[in-house]
């Protein structure tokens, strides 16, 4: 699929003509060497990325890593020194002011770290700002601003002024201002960075909730890895102006590209990152229609397991233990009579954290999709092994 946003070979050098600095960078010089040689600061160097439509692309990095510069290149607030940024085939790095304004008015909205609400406008006027700039009629924009405020739960505060609202509410207004113009792309520059941890958590959940219905393409900047892991469909980790690694939360935590990323992910609660599917084994279910208790026993003996799932017409019907199967075989009963439905199930997307309570039972956990089909099984010991994985790795490192 074609990416919604495509950044290719982006550089940003602050302070004057960039050509020498870029040549030096390509020759392999470091940020500090370039500062010493030219007095220029390297913001971003040779960054390429793709953002697919409808995903949350999180750029994570510490301050000075170039993440804010990167996001500002997407809507042209900062012009790259080299490289291109394509938004649906428009290269915002090199287009007329008029084209750039059109992109900003109709396609890309932005939410800021310190809210950047206009203090002289009411909440409703703030939310309607983008629409007013676009030249929409007053009545229509009032309606749409009100709808946007309701989306973020501030429908009743339209007549307040921003300074009468708490930080969390102000950022909701910021979000409503972004949503009101119904952009395809939402840029969020550390939007929750200035909020209390508790409110930040709420806002993250609300953003995910909104995203479920809105399906915007979101580029989200953060310095908080937990936030990145909680929100990101794809996560890019930036350091010193380059992207150190791009991948899903599981890829970042599971196989960090270098020591820098590994150091970041060390303290992460892995159970919040890994989904059940990541440790699932392929299911080898029996079919109620064709298999009997004897087949069940043979299967378990072959695989060396104590219980096996049984499907009926594609759907998960239950589980049969070796003991139940052999009893059924002895008594000449159907496989159906040996089934028990008292076994744990979970969805493939559920996090390991949610598997803890299920992992205590004797049976393996069945992963079923929304249609009730068995997609895999998770053995309780695998859950704990995955969580312990990291500590082992560390110990190995220490030994080495």
């Amino acid at each position: 699929m074609k990416p919604k946003i495509y950044g290719n070979g982006l550089y940003k050098i602050f302070g004057g003509d960039a050509t020498t600095a870029i040549d030096l960078l390509k020759a392999g010089q470091s940020k500090d060497e370039i500062y010493a040689a030219t007095g220029q600061t390297v913001g971003v160097r040779d960054v390429s990325f793709k953002v697919a439509e409808g995903e949350i692309f999180v750029v994570m990095g510490l301050s000075g890593s170039g993440k804010s510069t990167l996001v500002r290149m997407i809507n042209g607030l900062i012009k790259p020194s080299a490289g291109e940024i394509l938004i649906d085939d428009v290269n915002v790095a090199d287009c007329s002011d008029e084209q750039l304004r059109n992109v900003r008015r109709n396609k890309v909205a932005m939410v800021f770290q310190h809210f950047a609400l206009f203090p002289h406008k009411t909440v409703a006027e703030n939310a309607a700002f983008g629409l007013k700039i676009r030249g929409m009629k007053a009545s229509e924009r009032r309606e749409r601003a009100q709808a946007a405020l309701e989306q973020v739960g501030l429908g009743a505060r339209g007549d307040s002024y921003p300074d009468e609202l708490s930080g969390g509410m102000q950022q909701r207004v910021g979000l409503a201002r972004g949503l009101a113009s119904e952009p395809e792309i939402l840029l969020m520059d550390e939007p929750f960075g200035a909020l209390d941890p508790l409110i930040r958590n709420d806002m993250q959940q609300e953003l995910l909730e909104l995203q479920r219905t809105l399906k915007k393409t979101i580029v989200f900047i953060t310095h908080d890895l937990n936030e990145a892991l909680a929100l990101g469909t794809t996560i890019a980790i930036m350091r010193d102006g380059v992207i150190a690694q791009t991948g899903t939360a599981e890829e970042i935590v599971g196989s960090p590209a270098d020591d820098y990323v590994a150091a970041f992910t060390r303290d992460i609660d892995r159970s919040q990152v890994f989904a059940a599917a990541s440790i699932a084994r392929p299911a080898t279910p029996l079919d109620l229609a064709t298999d009997n208790a004897e087949v069940a026993m043979t299967r378990m003996e072959e695989l060396g397991i104590d219980a096996v799932h049984v499907v009926d017409d594609g759907k998960l019907a239950g589980i049969v233990s070796y003991r139940a199967a052999s009893a059924a075989h002895r008594d000449g009963l159907d496989l159906k009579d040996a089934l028990t439905d008292d076994f744990p199930t979970a969805s493939p997307e559920s996090l390991l954290n949610d598997l803890y309570p299920l992992a205590g039972t004797e049976y393996p956990i069945a992963l079923t999709d929304e249609k009730g089909q068995l997609t895999g099984i998770v053995h309780p010991q695998d859950v704990f092994q995955q969580l312990a994985n990291e500590e082992e790795e560390e110990e190995e490192k220490e030994k080495a």
């Binding site: 809507n75 607030l77 304004r101 059109n102 992109v103 900003r104 008015r105 109709n106 890309v108 909205a109 932005m110 800021f112 310190h114 950047a116 206009f118 203090p119 002289h120 700002f129 983008g130 007013k132 700039i133 676009r134 307040s160 002024y161 009468e164 609202l165 708490s166 509410m169 201002r177 113009s181 840029l187």
Partner: protein
């Protein structure tokens, strides 16, 4: 002792004389004459209006404005001050001075705000403008009275033009300052939503600079008032003339009366224009609400401030 003047003396005064008398005046007099036209129109309109308005009605309206903008104290003060001015027999002079001052301030705003905006937008323009403003503010006004008379003639309008030159710098400077001080993140936000430079100015920069601009307006107004006596020297009338003729005839009483009139007018205008610039007035009730509350028995107090959200 040896000094450079032993070897060389520069006829600077002659140069200026030649520049003004032999070049500027003959060549540009019609241009300057034409520039008087708008000032004359505004002044005549205002002057006719103020002088035609009955004293009692004018006093009532001004006190009302003072009450709405700056509260009861200023309103009572205005009422008493205006009655006092009438009692000492200086009402027509005061109206003339008021018309002159407002004309001068009007043109200062019309010229000054665009210049201030341009200065805020362009560093080059600002660099050029700054020394000119410095000269305008520091040069003694007596120095340019003579060339003004040469170019514009004698009378009220040349007096007003001298006043404009003197009172213009603060509003330019403070418009520039106000716009430059608008928070960078708000500019960025407006840009990110696709605002054109004009939308940026009208929607974000100017409204947020308003407080500072109003402070500039207040200073401009005060400077204009302080020029009325000097303007009287080249033929402007009003309270300035009362003071000036009083001085000439050593008539201490008349000069003092004129002076007191100027001071009272200054206090009223200062208080009103100052409170226009305060944030509360900016966000205050709309004109309609103001008029409505004027007719309600008691001034509707705004409801206690909305409880701050935790």
């Amino acid at each position: 002792m040896i000094s450079p003047s032993d070897f060389l003396s520069l006829p600077f005064d002659d140069w200026v004389n030649i520049f003004v008398r032999d070049w500027l005046v003959p060549n540009f007099r019609p241009v300057f004459r034409a520039m008087q036209w708008p000032v004359t129109q505004v002044l005549n309109g205002l002057s006719t209006f103020f002088n035609a308005t009955p004293m009692l009605i004018f006093t009532a309206v001004l006190s009302l404005i003072a009450w709405r903008t700056s509260g009861r104290g200023v309103a009572i003060f205005s009422l008493i001050a205006l009655i006092f001015i009438d009692l000492i027999g200086l009402w027509p002079e005061t109206m003339t001075t008021l018309a002159m001052v407002i004309t001068a301030v009007f043109f200062c705003v019309v010229i000054g705000i665009p210049f201030g905006v341009m200065a805020a937008r362009s560093d080059i323009f600002r660099t050029i403008l700054r020394p000119i403003l410095d000269v305008m503010q520091t040069i003694p006004s007596f120095v340019y009275l003579v060339p003004i008379v040469m170019l514009f003639g004698v009378g009220v309008v040349p007096g007003i033009i001298a006043t404009i030159i003197f009172a213009l710098p603060p509003i330019i400077r403070l418009t520039d300052l106000g716009i430059r001080n608008v928070r960078e993140d708000l500019i960025e936000a407006a840009t990110a939503f696709g605002a054109t430079p004009w939308q940026m100015l009208v929607e974000v920069q100017f409204p947020l600079a308003m407080r500072t601009v109003m402070a500039g307006l207040n200073q401009t107004l005060m400077l204009a008032l302080s020029m009325v006596v000097i303007a009287a020297m080249i033929g402007a009338g009003g309270l300035g003339l009362t003071v000036f003729t009083g001085l000439g005839r050593l008539d201490v009483g008349n000069a003092t009366a004129g002076g007191v009139g100027i001071v009272l007018l200054a206090i009223i205008l200062d208080r009103i224009s100052q409170s226009l610039g305060e944030a509360r007035a900016m966000r205050g009730p709309s004109l309609l609400a103001t008029i409505r509350s004027l007719f309600s028995l008691r001034a509707n107090k705004p409801p206690a401030e909305v409880e701050r959200a935790g």
